[in-house]
């Protein structure tokens, strides 16, 4: 697998459907920081918890001006059912066709099982990667690293 894209790299553009069928592109996210959380699959153990955690922390991400996206190789229909079941209040992107194309671009695809890594990216408003983190696949990476990055970006801006 290619290594995870690093801090300072420009995030590769993408155009993926969310669970409602709306296409989300990186270009459209410019102007606001974005949190992109790759996870292996809807319904698999741990991811549920990981997305549940982001659901709770979402207001805080919002206060820091950031938009939140979960992403896996599942289809928009699967994402829709998963998001409804878990009452997720943020968008899930379907990296479905061609399968895992975005994950591959970000260095987060798992050839061995055809899913994506548990990998986090924080992008700034210009689309630069400001933080990335590859978590052991069985461990939910939490939200502390994301928050710390968003906060330091905000303090830079006000400095």
């Amino acid at each position: 697998m290619a290594p995870l894209l690093n801090v300072g790299a420009t995030a590769p553009d993408f155009a993926l459907s969310d669970q409602a069928g709306t296409t989300v592109t990186l270009a459209a996210l410019r102007g606001k920081p974005a949190v992109i959380a790759f996870y292996p699959a809807d319904w698999s153990p741990v991811c549920g918890d990981q997305m549940a955690l982001y659901n709770e922390v979402l207001p805080l991400f919002g206060e820091l001006g950031a938009q939140m996206f979960g992403i896996s190789v599942d289809s928009r229909w699967c994402h829709g059912a998963f998001a409804e079941n878990r009452r997720l209040r943020f968008r899930l992107l379907a990296d479905f066709e061609p399968k895992g194309a975005m994950a591959r671009q970000y260095g987060a695809y798992r050839d061995e099982d055809g899913t994506s890594e548990r990998a986090l990216f924080v992008l700034d408003e210009a689309g630069l990667i400001r933080w990335s983190y590859l978590s052991p696949i069985e461990i939910n990476p939490g939200a502390d690293g994301i928050l710390a990055t968003l906060e330091s970006m905000q303090s830079e801006k006000s400095a």
Binding site: Q50, E56, R86, R89, G142, D144, L147
Partner: protein, 178 residues
Amino acid sequence: MSRGHNELTTPVSANDHAQGPGDAAVTLVEYGDYECSYCGMAYPIVKRVHARLGKQLRFVFRNFPLAEAHPHATAAAELAESAALQGRFWEMHDVLYEHQSALGPADLERHAKKVGLDLDTLEAALRGGGPHKRVQADFMSGVRSGVNGTPTFFINGQRFDGDWRDEEILTAALGARG
């Protein structure tokens, strides 16, 4: 990449709900949710491990209600915090974990009576918003410390990613720090 990742950012203080001596060799902090079934599973395990380690261990509980997933979790946490104001935190904590399938409003009132809380004082505390703030503050301290689901345990300030469901593993991890 790590920047103090997975370390308790809010140290244990007199403000915490703790069982066991303040000078215990090991402190186990749990971030938990009263409606979470895994926390319900952890409850007797922690009790057994605590009984085995005795005075070597101090156990601290902090709130981490996943409110979107568990609609009764926040109210239960605020009830436990209100009970704390009447000196009954652990009694309430235990009752809640022993009745995880009965956490609706009427159930909580029944639990409050069972624990012997003064209901007028309880109402006033809840209305005043103190318990609410306390639960939120716990939650935020957890998020900042790398809590990634419930329950999340910290042993002497370091997140424990081992399998707590195995009593032997948890006991060994705690014993090793003691």
